[in-house]
């Protein structure tokens, strides 16, 4: 009995329970929504969302599609790291989406227009994300501009700037940029492309594990390593100590001589760098090209917020929550489009994401319930003892 209680009191266990509860509730409500829209296909629909790549009967196809989900998990994880890192320092980085866009633009431009090696493309993406992030940081630190407002505005500013920049490297016949494996060469006003495979992230032989899914490679292992690095930075280092102190109480940080303003800028720069790097992890696989006419900010950055919360704002938890959110997002694409409209998958995932907000609610309720029970026991014991003494 005692052992069980102490296990339940562990924060990690509590977060896990709360997160799982959110997922189950989200799926249930999603199922109810599907029932309301069209009862006939509801059970199939919820199954395909949960199944994702298991929809396929052939093992090799399953594996290949699992690879696709993993490829997209890496950038999502980076965005969620960006959000949770800033959040731990007391800043709400809703600008991960814009920083991600900046990173995408920088790495695609450097690959296609300049023909750089993937390492430098990725560094460019990191710097671009950091730059956009630090703008919000500077505004917050020196002008007390709420970071949520400046982030949202910067999301749009960045999107259109990047669209404009990448319009210079788009295919003449479509709205999409050239594949990153090609380099654009303009000679005497005539544009042509030459192959340039050095821009693609190395696969490290991982593609063989996923039935030659050529997009699988360095990205996910790198993102997982960074998740661990973020955890170490926040919890084990002097910098993490300073940043968290600044985030929790700016005045106390100033009082004890920390550079509170620089710390805020640095936090946003690091958060931006993480999101920008996430974009490089996706676009440098070549799995997607950028549409220069897109008029909405890619959802990756926003899903990062959900993944961060579902993972209990813990970098390690974010690894799993990012995979899960990407899993159901992809699962949505297997819905029967004759029964439900395509947006249904977004609805289900957003329901789960919405419920992620309750992770902390569940967690606190759980803690309170346990401690109150223990207190009551203690109180009774104390009274009994005294009662004994008095009589």
């Amino acid at each position: 009995m005692n052992k069980k209680v102490s296990l339940l009191k562990k924060p990690a266990v509590q977060t896990l329970i709360a997160s799982l509860l959110c997922i189950v509730l989200g799926l249930l409500i999603g199922y109810v929504a599907l029932l309301l829209i069209n009862p006939a296909g509801a059970w199939d629909a919820i199954q395909s969302i949960i199944k994702n790549f298991w929809t396929y009967s052939k093992h090799t196809t399953q594996i290949k599609n699992l690879g696709n989900t993993l490829v997209k998990t890496a950038p999502l994880l980076m965005c969620s790291l960006s959000v949770l890192f800033a959040y731990k320092v007391g800043l709400f980085n809703i600008g991960a989406a814009g920083q991600y866009v900046a990173g995408a633009g920088a790495c695609i431009y450097c690959a296609v227009a300049l023909g750089w090696n993937w390492v430098f493309c990725m560094i460019a993406a990191i710097l671009a994300g950091a730059l956009v992030g630090s703008i919000s940081g500077v505004l917050k630190a020196y002008r007390n501009v709420n970071e949520v407002i400046s982030c949202i505005m910067l999301n749009w500013i960045t999107l259109y700037l990047i669209n404009t920049l990448l319009a210079g490297v788009k295919e003449p016949t479509s709205n999409y940029t050239y594949s990153i494996t090609k380099r654009l060469v303009v000679e005497n006003g005539v544009a042509s492309t030459v192959p340039n495979p050095g821009t693609v992230l190395p696969s490290l032989g991982l593609e063989n594990l996923f039935n030659n899914n050529k997009y699988v490679g360095l990205a996910l292992p790198l993102a997982v390593v960074l998740a661990i690095a973020v955890w170490v930075l926040l919890n084990k280092t002097q910098l993490g100590y300073e940043l968290r102190a600044t985030g929790m109480n700016k005045n106390a940080a100033k009082y004890c001589g920390m550079q509170d303003k620089q710390n805020i800028v640095m936090t946003m720069a690091i958060a931006g760098a993480l999101a920008g790097m996430g974009a490089a992890m996706l676009y440098l696989t070549g799995i997607q090209q950028w549409s220069v006419t897109q008029s909405s900010v890619p959802s990756m950055g926003f899903n990062g917020i959900a993944a961060a919360f579902l993972g209990g704002l813990n970098p390690i938890g974010a690894i799993f929550s990012s995979f899960f959110i990407q899993h159901i997002t992809d699962g949505g694409s297997y819905l029967d489009m004759r029964v439900y409209s395509g947006e249904i998958s977004d609805l289900i995932s957003s329901l789960i994401i919405y419920l992620c907000g309750f992770v902390f609610f569940f967690k606190t309720s759980l803690t309170n319930a346990i401690t109150l029970r223990e207190d009551k026991k203690l109180l009774d014991e104390r009274r009994n003892k005294e009662g004994g003494k008095a009589s």
């Binding site: 940080a253 004890c256 001589g257 207190d375």
Partner: protein, 516 residues
């Protein structure tokens, strides 16, 4: 009207995770009496009042009004039962007038929601005359004295026809003269049949004004006594559980070299356009305690901000141990041996969501002992150091070093700050209201630490609003009024009354800014 009691709280038990804040507490307020509620910080007074106002629901116990069991679910219910409270920190809208504040929430309105202020003004004037509460209904809150703000709060309760009045530590912000006035007001209210609950830990005031006194200690009910039948010593023993030495024992001071030299310092105010500190000069020597006395809001806060580097100076010079530190950063000042016990422990003193050990090393986490060269924290050393200080300074908390600072009582939070600052071996200790919110036993302890620093030859600059503390602890008193030092007094020769005159601006030294 079957009961002699206006309000009874019987067998109240309220638990929070990890703490039993109220354990079977009984409080019975007779009609037409002044009843003191005495207890140290963390004794459960605030929780009990929150239960009375419906902010917390108790696990056990009942509340009775005039002998009838009542349910109070929120402050509106309490108000409907005629219960009103003057909070320690006033709940007034600064940019509204006195009258606007009094009618706030119960505005008399006519057709189309138009305010009928004339009626309200008439009633307020009537009430203020009847109870001797002098206020100017049309003055803005930001322009009037703290005493008048408090009278506004009292009028708020009377305007709502409350007949059970609760005063939460009402004298903390007042001058001695204003305290006397308040005591008289409370007696007037009693004479008019109001029942008063007076929350305090100042024994002299309780003895002076209360009829009965209920004592809480560590969340438990100790007893209720008639103040006529007990002595101050007995009351204090009930409150802390052992006998307390009231007077601060200290040897003769032996002032040495000047440690802190402040010259023509001017600091801007954040609240208004004028400077908060105006051209102030003084010295603090090693081996002496210099106390800045004055009523809250006369520039003491900004004076400390200027010295510690939290605010830049408009003009002037600060020299510490012969070195000009006017432009030095906070960290540089701190490394030079300036230690600062801040006025607001929640705003500046602690990172409330950090565990205690992280707060203990807040001023020295960057030292080699606590951080490796690669920038990793040495958590083992941090924990060990924190455990040592917890032991040495008797800081009590649920889970020792691992306790979140937010979960600690105010007194223990303050102890943690004092431990942290004093253990840094200061050359200059700047202590701002170091005993605010502490209980008698803890105050004695803090004073001992301050005197020990002095006796070790360190310079101490103490900022205090407490008259007793100023007179007991300091070797020299500088009184601040409206941003200037208006007088220098010798604690051995002056009286509270004389200090009060300086503090209220009624008297000032012709010589003006004096230095040692």
């Amino acid at each position: 009207m079957g009961s002699e009691y206006a309000i009874e709280m019987l067998g109240i038990t309220k638990r929070f995770p990890g703490i039993i804040a109220n354990d079977n507490i009984t409080l019975q307020l007779r009609r037409g009496e002044i009843h003191a509620l005495l207890g140290e910080n963390g004794a459960g007074k605030s929780t009990l009042m929150s239960v009375l106002f419906g902010l917390y629901e108790p696990e056990e116990g009942v509340i009775k009004k005039d002998g009838e069991v009542v349910r109070i679910n929120d402050p509106n219910d309490a108000n409907a039962l005629g219960i009103g409270m003057v909070h320690q920190h006033f709940k007034l809208v600064e940019c509204f007038t006195v009258l606007d504040n009094i009618i706030l929430g119960v505005e008399p309105t006519g057709k189309f929601g138009l305010l009928k202020k004339d009626e309200a003004r008439k009633r307020v004037l009537e009430l203020s005359e009847r109870y001797g509460l002098q206020v100017d209904p049309d003055a803005k809150i930001s322009d009037i004295t703290v005493g008048m703000q408090q009278r506004t709060e009292i009028l708020k309760m009377l305007y709502r026809d409350n007949d059970i009045l609760i005063f939460d530590e009402p004298t903390a912000v007042l001058t001695p003269q204003e305290i006397d006035e308040l005591m008289q007001i409370m007696r007037n209210l009693r004479a008019e049949g109001k029942s008063i609950l007076f929350i305090s830990h100042k024994l002299a005031e309780i003895m002076a004004v209360a009829d009965r006194c209920s004592v809480l200690r560590k969340g438990r009910y100790i007893g209720t006594v008639n103040t006529k039948d007990v002595t101050v010593e007995e009351l204090s023993a009930m409150m802390v559980g052992h006998n307390v030495n009231f007077h601060v024992e200290k040897k003769e001071a032996h002032p040495g070299d000047v440690v802190l030299h402040v010259e023509n310092m001017t600091v801007a105010s954040r609240a208004h356009k004028n400077n908060a500190v105006k051209n102030v000069s003084f010295d603090v020597r090693g081996g002496e305690v210099v106390c800045i006395a004055g009523i809250d809001g006369n520039g003491q806060t900004e004076l400390v901000y200027g010295i510690t580097g939290l605010e830049p100076l408009v003009s002037g010079k600060i020299v510490m141990q012969g070195k000009d530190i006017t432009k030095a950063s906070i960290r540089q000042r701190s490394l030079a041996g300036m230690c600062h016990i801040p006025e607001d422990r929640h705003k500046h003193g602690l990172v409330l969501d950090f565990p205690l050990d992280y707060n203990i090393v807040l001023q020295r986490y960057f030292e080699d002992h606590f951080t490796t060269h690669a920038g990793f924290l040495r958590r083992g050393n941090i924990r060990k150091y924190s455990d040592e200080l917890i032991d040495q300074f008797d800081i009590r908390s649920g889970q020792g070093s691992a306790t979140t600072a937010r979960a600690m009582s105010g007194g223990n939070q303050q102890k943690a700050i004092i431990a942290r600052e004093i253990d840094r071996k200061p050359e200059l200790l700047v202590a701002v209201q170091p005993t605010r919110g502490l209980d008698v036993g803890a105050i004695e302890n803090v004073h001992r630490h301050i005197i020990a620093q002095r006796d070790a030859g360190k310079a101490v600059l103490l900022v205090s609003l407490e008259m007793d503390e100023v007179l007991d602890v300091s070797d020299r008193i500088l009184v601040m009024y409206e941003g200037e030092i208006v007088g220098e007094l010798d604690p051995k020769k002056t009286t509270p009354e004389e200090m009060g005159l300086y503090m209220a601006g009624a008297k000032r030294d012709t010589a003006g800014k004096k230095g040692a």
